[in-house]
């Protein structure tokens, strides 16, 4: 494969694309881990999503 | 320590709000300012806090730190809570503690207002009463001799009002003083009353 006189531009284009795609993937993965961690934290403290006890009569 | 007001007057926008207010109180005492709406309760507190200028009369705090003004030795709890919704509960409190130059007592202060379980929660999730409690935590986190409280019990439920009353009693026992504006009882048994406006 010979890239000719404009090799810099071609490499730069691929590099930018790889960078943006990697950034997107990092965003998705880190965000996923962060949300999981917070959810785990909240569950550990016994917080639930639905007001489980709200309907019942407290004695 | 002695807080003295002599012939204090306040006029706002050309209208006289109050005039001839006199009181003198030593440390360890509380003063409850009462009066109908518009009598100038909030204005008096803001004047003590140095937020509005004194139209006439004299105001002095003696016997405390010598080179600090009254405002710099006071805590002011106004109608708004000075809570930033995007910061967490502990971030909010830590900022005010650092800004007001207090000691590092964030945990104890959150404990005192019962907000420890919510410490990491963004303040946007708090209810009005919880925001109020976070605001009160500031008074505990940073030691200042004078507390200026503008209707401190508003938005608080009964247990929180009781907890606030305990905090206020502790502050008085420690030699501090409290000036509070209120419509109803705020839970202090031995407070002097200052009635503003025509009877």
């Amino acid at each position: 494969m010979i890239l000719g006189p404009h090799v810099d531009f071609i490499v730069a284009a691929y590099a930018v694309t790889v960078f943006v795609v990697v950034a997107l993937m990092a965003w998705v993965i880190l965000d996923y881990l962060a949300q999981r961690r917070i959810l785990g934290d909240l569950e550990e403290r016994g917080v639930t999503r639905h007001s489980g006890r709200a309907g019942k009569v407290e004695r | 320590m002695q807080l003295t007001a002599e012939n204090l007057a306040c006029s706002r926008g050309g209208r006289e709000v109050f005039a001839g207010v006199n009181f003198s109180m030593p440390g360890g005492e509380a003063l409850v300012v009462t009066g109908r709406n518009g009598a100038g309760k909030s204005s008096l507190l803001r004047m003590l806090a140095g937020l509005i200028s004194i139209s006439a009369g004299r105001l002095a705090l003696t016997g405390a730190e010598n080179d600090a003004t009254l405002a710099e030795q006071s805590h002011y709890l106004g109608h708004q809570d000075a809570v930033k919704p995007s910061l967490s509960v502990s971030e909010n409190l830590r900022f005010w503690a650092e800004f007001l130059g207090g000691r590092d007592a964030i945990g104890a202060a959150l404990e005192a207002v019962d907000l420890v379980p919510l410490a990491d929660l963004p303040a946007a999730y708090l209810s009005a009463g919880q925001r109020r409690r976070l605001s009160i935590a500031r008074l505990v986190a940073v030691q200042r001799p004078v507390w200026l409280l503008d209707e401190p019990t508003s938005a608080l439920d009964v247990p929180s009002q009781k907890r606030l009353a305990e905090l206020m009693r502790g502050h008085l026992v420690g030699g501090g003083m409290i000036v509070a504006a209120a419509h109803g009882p705020i839970g202090l048994e031995r407070a002097r009353e200052l009635k503003l406006g025509p009877a």
């Binding site: 494969m1 071609i10 284009a13 | 019962d114 919510l118 963004p122 209810s127």
Partner: protein, 241 residues
């Protein structure tokens, strides 16, 4: 039946968890295959080796536009059917579509420098893509500013629909503006039939990028569902304390 099943976020999460690894594998395979074909693709007689940039640029342009298409459909879902997943789909599509539009702009200007002698010309097509990018940034800013996700996504849905109606008008007026000011001075190889030896790799790359888009989109949707779960749990926590 399947649609109703997917409407439930919990069920949707389960499906995503099952599908995502396969989708990822397919994406990687498609890229491996596509890039291999790209390596052996011949040079263009006019563009020379820079035609290799086109294998990134053209799919990115398509996906940038498709991202807005996804947002438009999701916006209808939000506004008309009030579908809970539509909000999530629209919000997740915005940054991904913006990223692909950005790739399109950058690769385009990196291609333009050797071909046209400048990184940027106010050519009708480039300018339209730039406007699309600005619209994406507007939607992202809207999501970023709104603290209440429900209100934010309805506002963004309206903006997405307005944008979908407006994009053709913008495109038309930009073309008119451009021809008014600038007689055709740019040599473009468009119009002539593309040689299959270039077209095939291009299509494969487009497929690979599309798979990548959907992989990222599903993963981002999953994050968004989790984020809303965190929000409702925090609200619950605050109301209990």
């Amino acid at each position: 039946m399947a649609v109703i099943d997917l409407a439930n976020p919990t069920r949707f999460l389960a499906v995503v968890n099952r599908v995502l690894p396969w989708l990822m594998a397919a994406t990687i395979l498609a890229f491996a295959f596509g890039l291999a074909r790209v390596m052996y693709a011949p040079d263009d007689y006019q563009q020379g080796a820079t035609v290799k940039i086109m294998f990134l640029h053209v799919p990115a342009a398509w996906l940038g536009m498709m991202g807005w298409g996804v947002m438009t459909v999701a916006a209808l879902g939000t506004l008309v059917w009030r579908h809970p997943l539509a909000d999530v789909a629209g919000k997740a599509a915005a940054p991904i579509g913006a990223a692909f539009t950005f790739i399109c702009l950058v690769t385009g200007s990196l291609w333009g420098r050797p071909m046209w002698g400048t990184y940027w010309v106010w050519d009708a097509r480039l300018t339209s893509v730039l406007v699309l990018f600005l619209l994406y940034l507007g939607v992202l800013a809207l999501y970023w500013t709104a603290e209440d996700p429900g209100r934010g996504s309805r506002a963004a849905a309206i903006l997405a629909l307005v944008g979908a109606v407006n994009i053709p008008i913008i495109k038309f007026s930009v073309e008119w503006w451009n021809t008014l000011h600038q007689p055709a001075s740019i040599i473009r190889s468009g119009g002539s039939a593309i040689d299959p030896s270039i077209l095939m790799p291009l299509l494969i790359m487009a497929g690979a990028f599309t798979l990548l888009f959907f992989t990222l989109h599903l993963a981002a949707m999953r994050n968004e569902i989790l984020r809303r779960r965190v929000r409702s749990m925090r609200l619950m926590q605050a109301s209990r304390a």
